[in-house]
């Protein structure tokens, strides 16, 4: 369990953008290899509740994804959802044992509270969650509608926490922190969210038929089905406004209008949500703000005025300015206000309150003005995302651990080894464009009737293809041994992406931000001065090879055939590879990141260790790299020449699936195995004739 992890490779922008700093490139790569269980493991290492994020994360990682500079970002959240579903996340059982004597109270059971409880429990503390409502989940339960986050998902995670031994007290509103300390809790984490809707401050706001967004969504989510009438207006442009509007559609309101005082470009709601709301028939009225309202003749008469955009404000968004004399009246049955929410902190807590009624904390340690009291989540930040809340909860857990263990806070500094530069146009030009594949959605007609989850899951093939689009930022080549570099310029000449260059002083530079990690220069450098940055926990080819050779030696199986296979191709991944591994004794597959990374020495090493045949299999025309087959064939020819000088038949080295897809992979390999068997027999006979 770790807060932040980084291997030898540079931290890619997606991971930096993720509030939880998940190892995104790692799990995306595992999905690309079809290793869903391993992908889920990586996801679970970095995220306490991946199933929740898989539905609702606003994926800042995708905004940071550098593939967006080439075509479109990787669909990271949808891939996580795929890994969570196909990896069987809901079947995973967690246990935790009590290792510490201290008890910690978590006040509030939103994502921050649940995450804090999860990590504290894993650290061995006894944890109690206090929740004012009847069910756990906070905004996950009462804020986010079911069509975005099915309730079973929250239930599963809550059940897992209970199984881990977290004590739950629902229907319990904490009125005093002193009481908690009296009850022998040594630390308290306040995460009460931001449930109080802001008021518009206009005439008639108290009229019947006006309801605030938080209350409305809470009622909907608790299954109360509030009656709305035919015409519903939602005031605001954030995610809560979208949720309220879309919930109203599902509650059979005939006409749902969003009134927003700026234009669509300034809307803080996530673009996907806006798009989906419009698909479901929600009408958006931009540059409109209500000024007063009145209940008359059984309906709500709302006076609005039109706005225009003025100078940008401190946040950079253009300020709406009323147009004089532009007032007009509209009629609705219900109006939902969703212009923002704030926390509501009891005065009894005696906590220092800052801007927007939020609790003031130290941003690093999350400590408040009271010793032993920590705070996080929306109560500190104001309304934010689920993932930010999870990160806040995790941070709190580790800082509470530091506090209880009397340790100086161990805070990771992340400034080193971050890859942040943009791709250069000349690099972008050389990268193959591959369209982003979106997961399927329920049709708008089907969505409008009920609260079923809108987004469906990728099938296996689309997930793998989507994951393969990843550029693997930060895993590129570097000149490890500058003193060895003879400045021969081989890397500059060999790179298909024009990445290495001669700096002013005459030294070769390989800018990590541009490198596409194909490994061609690594395998070609005559001084062996270049290495690929190593993703952590991953073996390089030589280590994989030694592993395979050792396993083969232990089994004493013959004839031994070693296959270096692109880990994305049909030979290296999927059912076919595992089939051979099990049923065809003597075929050992060494997965490689890219066949262009395979060196002559690796091939010879296999022969040295007794391999009768070696094959190299690519990923056919699926290859997202440039020119890889050319380099593989160069090396194959060189090794074949050496083999024939040694007295071995060059045909013992074979390539498959390099340029074009193999018609029948299994058949091709069968033929090769048979031929090697024949060569093997022939050499035995020759040996006996000689002696």
């Amino acid at each position: 369990m770790k807060e932040v992890s980084c291997g030898h490779s540079l931290i890619p922008p997606c991971q930096v953008a993720c509030p939880l700093h998940m190892e995104i490139s790692e799990y995306v790569d595992l999905v690309a290899q079809g290793k869903v269980l391993e992908a889920l493991q990586v996801i679970r290492d970095g995220n306490p509740f991946p199933s929740i994020c898989a539905y609702v994360c606003t994926h800042p990682c995708e905004d940071a994804c550098r593939r967006g500079q080439v075509d479109k970002p990787i669909a990271i959240r949808a891939l996580k959802r795929f890994a969570v579903e196909f990896g069987g996340d809901r079947m995973i059982q967690l246990e935790a044992e009590t290792k510490q004597s201290e008890k910690v109270a978590v006040v509030g059971s939103g994502p921050a509270g649940l995450a804090c409880a999860y990590y504290l429990r894993k650290l061995g503390y006894r944890v109690t969650i206090f929740e004012a409502y009847s069910e756990l989940g906070g905004m996950l339960r009462v804020g986010i509608p079911q069509y975005r986050l099915p309730r079973e998902v929250v239930d599963t995670e809550v059940q897992r926490l209970i199984n881990m031994g977290v004590e739950i007290k629902v229907n319990t509103r904490v009125i005093s922190l002193d009481l908690l300390f009296d009850m022998d809790y040594q630390a308290v984490f306040i995460t009460i969210g931001a449930h109080q809707s802001l008021r518009m401050g206009i005439e008639g706001e108290e009229s019947p038929g006006v309801i605030d967004g938080a209350t409305f969504l809470r009622e909907v989510n608790l299954g109360l089905k509030p009656s709305l009438g035919e015409r519903v207006a939602v005031v605001g442009g954030g995610n809560v406004a979208m949720d309220a509007a879309r919930a109203a559609v599902r509650l059979a309101a005939n006409k749902v209008s969003i009134l927003y005082r700026r234009s669509r470009a300034e809307m803080p709601a996530s673009p996907d949500e806006i798009e989906q709301a419009l698909e479901e028939g929600v009408e958006a009225m931009f540059l409109v703000a209500p000024t007063k309202m009145k209940r008359e003749n059984g309906c709500l008469s709302v006076t609005c005025e039109r706005m225009e955009l003025g100078e940008p404000d401190a946040g950079g968004r253009r300020r709406p300015v009323p147009i004089e004399g532009s007032e007009f009246d509209m009629e609705f049955d219900t109006l939902v206000t969703a212009i923002g929410q704030a926390p509501q902190v009891s005065e009894n807590f005696r906590l220092r309150i800052g801007r927007g009624s939020t609790i003031q904390v130290d941003p690093v340690t999350l400590t408040t003005n009271r010793p032993g009291v920590f705070a996080g989540g929306d109560a500190v930040t104001g309304p934010a995302t689920v993932t930010q809340a999870l990160a806040s909860g995790r941070q709190a857990a580790f800082r509470i651990d530091d506090y209880l263990r009397h340790r100086y806070p161990l805070v990771n500094k992340e400034s080193e080894g971050i890859l942040s530069d943009e791709l250069l146009p000349k690099t972008v030009e050389m990268i193959r464009k591959i369209e982003r594949f979106e997961p399927p959605h329920l049709s708008p007609e089907a969505r409008m009737k009920e609260f079923k989850a809108v987004e469906l899951i990728y099938n296996w093939e689309s997930a793998v293809n989507e994951a393969r689009r990843c550029l693997r930022c930060g895993m590129g080549a570097e000149i490890m041994f500058q003193d060895k570099c003879a400045t021969c310029l081989t890397c500059i000449r060999a790179c298909p992406y024009h990445v290495p260059y001669l700096a002013d002083g005459g030294a070769v530079q390989i800018p990590p931000a541009q490198c596409q990690a194909c490994g061609i220069c690594v395998a070609e450098c005559p001084a062996e001065a270049i290495v690929l940055r190593k993703p952590h926990d991953r073996r390089h080819i030589d280590e994989e090879l030694e592993h395979a050779l050792k396993s083969a030696a232990e089994l004493k199986s013959k004839p031994l055939i070693v296959g270096f296979c692109c880990q994305y191709g049909i030979f290296g991944t999927g059912a076919l590879a595992s089939l051979w591994r099990e049923s065809k004794a003597g075929i050992w597959i060494v997965p490689v990141l890219c066949v262009a990374n395979l060196e002559e020495g690796h091939i010879l090493r296999a022969f040295e260790m007794g391999a009768e045949g070696v094959f190299i299999a690519g990923c056919g025309e699926q290859c997202s790299r440039e020119n890889t087959a050319f380099w593989v064939l160069q090396r194959v020819e060189k090794v074949r020449r050496a083999l024939s000088q040694i007295g071995l038949e060059p045909g013992r080295l074979q390539t498959f699936n390099l340029l074009a897809p193999e018609g029948d992979a299994a058949r091709a390999l069968d033929d090769f195995t048979e031929r090697i068997g024949g060569l093997c027999l022939a050499s035995v006979i020759r040996g006996e004739v000689k002696s």
Binding site: A486, C488, P526, A527, E600, L604, E608, M609, K638, G647
Partner: protein, 207 residues
């Protein structure tokens, strides 16, 4: 034990005897051994920065002490310097040094200089007729040039056509109108030696 010795400068640049080639050769030798079940020799690989300087070779003394022979992947010079530095053990050439040239592109090298000691590049617009003309003639082209290509190999440019075109471009065609007497074809007294330092008797000069 046989020491496989690479050279980290020119031999690395031309892909003939750098660390990668040394390790390739090492691997190939091990395969040959494994196949013939002949384990008589063991190998040690190492690449020095330059084989043509004693100082770099001095760093190898311990390794050479353990070795029975050195297989040098240096150029002809490297092999000789290694042999001179380590007089007591056999030194074998691993590379057939062919010519001095340039990398035309990745994996293609062209000869450019014969080190003839009689340089004419100033008169021939920086294009050497000694190496680039098959006949090495000084007052070309000969009658065998066709469409700018050499009669000996139609993929090869005629050096004298190249020289003419470049002189024309530089407006120095008068250099073509001169007659160049034959080169000095006397046998060069080998080995040649260049002495840069002058004999200085300290004390003779007063600053």
């Amino acid at each position: 034990m046989i020491l496989l010795l690479g050279c980290g400068t020119c031999m690395t640049v031309c892909g003939a005897g750098g660390e990668r080639e040394v390790s390739f050769l090492h691997s190939a030798l091990r395969v040959a051994q494994a196949r013939s079940s002949d384990g008589a020799h063991s190998f040690l690989e190492y690449t020095v920065k330059r084989q043509c300087d004693f100082e770099f070779l001095d760093l190898l003394v311990d390794k050479v002490d353990e070795s029975d022979a050195i297989l040098s992947l240096g150029c002809g010079i490297g092999v000789q310097v290694v042999a001179e530095r380590f007089p007591d053990i056999p030194v074998l050439p691993g590379v057939n040094t062919s010519f001095m040239g340039m990398a035309k592109e990745w994996g293609v090298w062209d000869e450019r200089c014969a080190a003839c000691g009689d340089c004419r590049l100033a008169e021939t617009a920086g294009i050497c007729p000694i190496t680039r003309c098959t006949k090495g003639i000084l007052n070309g082209p000969c009658a065998g040039t066709k469409n700018g290509k050499c009669e000996a190999n139609k993929d090869m440019d005629c050096a004298w056509v190249l020289i003419y075109k470049r002189l024309e471009k530089l407006q120095q065609l008068e250099k073509m109108r001169r007659y160049y007497p034959p080169r000095n074809f006397r046998v060069i007294p080998r080995p040649r030696r260049i002495v840069k330092k002058t004999d200085v008797v300290l004390g003779e000069y007063n600053g």
